[in-house]
């Protein structure tokens, strides 16, 4: 399936050949196209965020939207994240459909009160009468000494907030389809975007489409171990799987795509086949999505696992600045491969 394939290199896009009506886009182009079509098709939608109208256009993801749709549809804002989240939520309750953009996920803690105490609960608290259709895009940074306040994956903090949905697209196809679904959803939706995904490529249909939440995908079938990989970790897992294949180990990579709702069925079906589980996330481990995925297995049938499950996540520490510390901090394909081998009782050498 061209739509669900993960391409590790730009050149690989050619594999389906021209003339099949397939169009390659980068992740960031897909985000931009989704927002363009949302603004075109829904007059109540608007985009708001720091720098959404400037020459950088939030790493290119909002580039040109302000020129095309004008300042009422694409709004720069004061640096006042909590207040503006409340304002966006209020506008949403009053019938608008805002898309709030954050250059870094690290700014979400500023908005915590309005997301957690207000937007997420408004529908419930109103006895179902009110809705807050608010999309919050947030980007996880990495590298070049971004350090402790510009590189966090904070989706775990929001997992325990009923009323909020959380999606984590990893491919251009999902970037567009899941974002369009988020814009159509009547609940607040948090979009987790990893900056390192922005240049990744894949096939994306030109016409608007929506990908439903709560449907995980098997990105690569395998027999020996299931790796559930979130966001940018999908690519690391695919690389690890390729490396391990050369060593005779067959890895199944599952991409949950949305964390809340979480498609436990697909994950469990995979674990049932392989009997082994590794979960990789772009976040610190405690109380996170990886723990939640493991809990789903335990709650269903602990007997599914032939070996203890392993998490691959950021260490239990803030992000350091120095390049050698950064290098030591981030897990990647090598760590995932090591974790897989651990579940198989293989030594991690060679």
């Amino acid at each position: 399936m061209p739509w669900t394939k993960v391409f590790l290199a730009k050149e690989d896009l050619a594999c389906f050949g021209p003339g099949e009506g397939l169009r390659g886009l980068t992740f960031v182009q897909a985000l931009l196209e989704a927002q363009t079509q949302i603004l075109e098709n829904d007059p109540s939608a608007f985009v708001i965020g720091e720098g959404v109208n400037d020459s950088g256009g939030v790493f290119g993801s909002t580039l040109g939207l302000a020129d095309r749709f004008g300042p009422k549809r694409v709004m720069d804002m004061p640096i006042a994240e909590n207040g503006l989240t409340g304002i966006a939520a209020g506008a949403a309750a009053a019938g608008m459909r805002p898309i709030f953009v954050h250059m870094r996920m690290d700014f979400l803690p500023m908005c915590m009160d309005q997301i957690v105490n207000h937007a997420a609960k408004w529908h419930y608290m109103s006895g179902g009468a009110l809705t807050v259709p608010l999309v919050i895009r947030s980007i996880i940074g990495r590298g070049w000494g971004s350090a402790a306040q510009h590189s966090q994956g904070l989706h775990s903090l929001f997992l325990s907030v009923p009323g909020l949905k959380i999606i984590a697209p990893s491919t251009p196809y999902d970037a567009k389809g899941l974002l369009m679904e988020a814009a159509a959803d009547n609940n607040p939706v948090l979009v987790v975007e990893h900056r390192w995904l922005y240049g990744s490529v894949g096939y994306v249909p030109e016409a608007p489409y929506r990908e439903p939440f709560g449907k995980a995908l098997v990105r690569r079938p395998g027999r020996d171990c299931t790796v559930v990989a979130i966001s940018q970790m999908v690519y690391e897992a695919m690389r690890a799987a390729a490396d391990l294949e050369a060593q005779g180990v067959s890895v199944e990579v599952v991409d949950p795509r949305s964390l809340k709702p979480l498609d436990t069925e697909t994950i469990l079906a995979s674990v049932r086949r392989t009997g082994r589980l590794v979960v990789a996330d772009v976040a610190c481990p405690m109380g996170g999505a990886a723990s939640e995925i493991m809990a789903a297995v335990l709650e269903t049938d602990p007997g599914l696992l032939a070996a203890p499950a392993v998490r691959v996540s950021f260490p239990e520490a803030p992000t350091p600045c120095s390049p050698v510390l950064e290098e030591a901090y981030y897990p990647g394909a090598r760590h995932i491969a090591g974790a897989v081998k651990k579940t198989l009782g293989l030594s991690d050498h060679g």
Binding site: E50, G51, A80, S146, C321, S322, P323, V324, A328
Partner: protein, 337 residues
């Protein structure tokens, strides 16, 4: 640099020594930033840098009134503040180069320097994040009956955050010894002030909380020095907070060593107009014209600073990286510190 106690805030006309000191501080900051511009293409300084070229007069003029025991809180754009408060340039550069002898042992980088012995208790790059901390430092001094004051530097953009308003209100309520210094450089990243605030007079917000506030030419170091003298004296006398809005302009892009007008971030003419009003050149001419130093004297000063900074850069680059194992250490403070 700076912080000499001969900068008596009450004295209306600064001494020739003070004037020379102000020039030296400004030159020091300018040349420090220019060294970063020079080495950055080597890609050895692997962290984002927010340069303050064009804004040196604010750091120099305000911090000249601070004593070693006073607190200072800054932002992502902190190099000038740290240097003016006396932090060693080599220790800062080592931090920016990610080396173990940096002020945060390589964990912080350019956005998060700290130096407790200089009253700099950490630096936040969350906009508005440092303002309440600076007020908290003043609260600690106030509760302990110390005469330290707290200088809190932030940008025009930070004045939009709730933390700004909450901090001003509390500082005024408790009469805390804070000098708030807004460096209004007209931009927050690429967003002009007019796109973010309906009333560009940031200091009026402070007046709303009953805090005495002034708006001044932040490129005129003598004006900054005079106003900061009033502010520091006010805070030190236990009269509560004081607010300075220093109007200035940054020359480089928001982040990084390049100019940004080619990328369409702001009008070229605007930048060039402000470069005409260079705070350093302007004051250097003033000093030379007044006969306080001659051209040979200022050139010698520049050469000496440049040599010291070259040595600092060389030293910092020669320092070792931290041990990789450090990455996950130091998350919690030990029971005994």
């Amino acid at each position: 640099m700076s912080t000499s106690s001969d900068c008596a805030p009450a004295s209306p006309a600064p001494s020739r020594d003070v004037l020379r000191g102000l020039l030296e501080t400004m030159l020091f900051i300018r040349l420090f930033e220019e060294k970063i511009v020079a080495v950055y293409p080597d890609q050895d300084m692997k962290c984002p840098v927010h340069l303050c070229i064009g804004q040196e007069a604010v750091a120099a003029g305000v911090i000249a009134h601070l004593r070693p025991g006073d607190y200072l809180t800054s932002t992502h754009r902190n190099h000038g503040h740290c240097l003016a408060k006396g932090v060693d340039p080599g220790i800062l550069l080592a931090e920016f180069f990610g080396r173990a002898s940096g002020c945060c042992r390589g964990k912080g980088g350019s956005m998060h320097p700290m130096s407790p012995e200089h009253g700099i208790l950490g630096t936040s790059a969350i906009v508005g994040g440092g303002i309440p901390h600076g007020v908290g430092h003043a609260l600690a001094a106030f509760l302990r009956g110390q005469d330290a004051i707290s200088a809190v530097f932030f940008g025009d953009g930070a004045s939009e955050e709730g933390s700004f308003h909450e901090s001003l209100n509390f500082a005024a309520l408790k009469g805390l010894p804070v000098v708030f210094v807004c460096e209004n450089n007209h931009y927050a990243t690429n967003s002009p002030l007019g796109a973010r605030q309906p009333n560009p007079d940031v200091h009026r917000r402070a007046q709303g909380y009953g805090i005495p506030a002034e708006r001044l030419d932040g490129n005129d170091v003598e004006a900054v020095y005079a106003a900061a003298g009033r502010a520091a004296a006010h805070a030190r006398a236990g009269l509560g907070p004081y607010f300075l809005e220093c109007v200035t302009y940054r020359w480089k892009g928001h982040v990084g060593p390049d100019c940004d007008y080619e990328k369409g971030c702001r009008p070229k003419d605007e930048l060039f107009d402000w470069m005409e009003r260079c705070p350093v050149k302007r004051f250097q001419s003033r000093i030379e014209d007044a006969g306080i130093m001659d051209a040979a004297g200022t050139q010698a000063m520049i050469a000496a600073i440049s040599a010291r900074l070259d040595a600092a850069v060389a030293w910092a680059r020669g320092e070792k990286y931290p041990d990789a194992a450090e990455a996950v250490l130091g998350v919690y403070a030990p029971a005994e510190v």
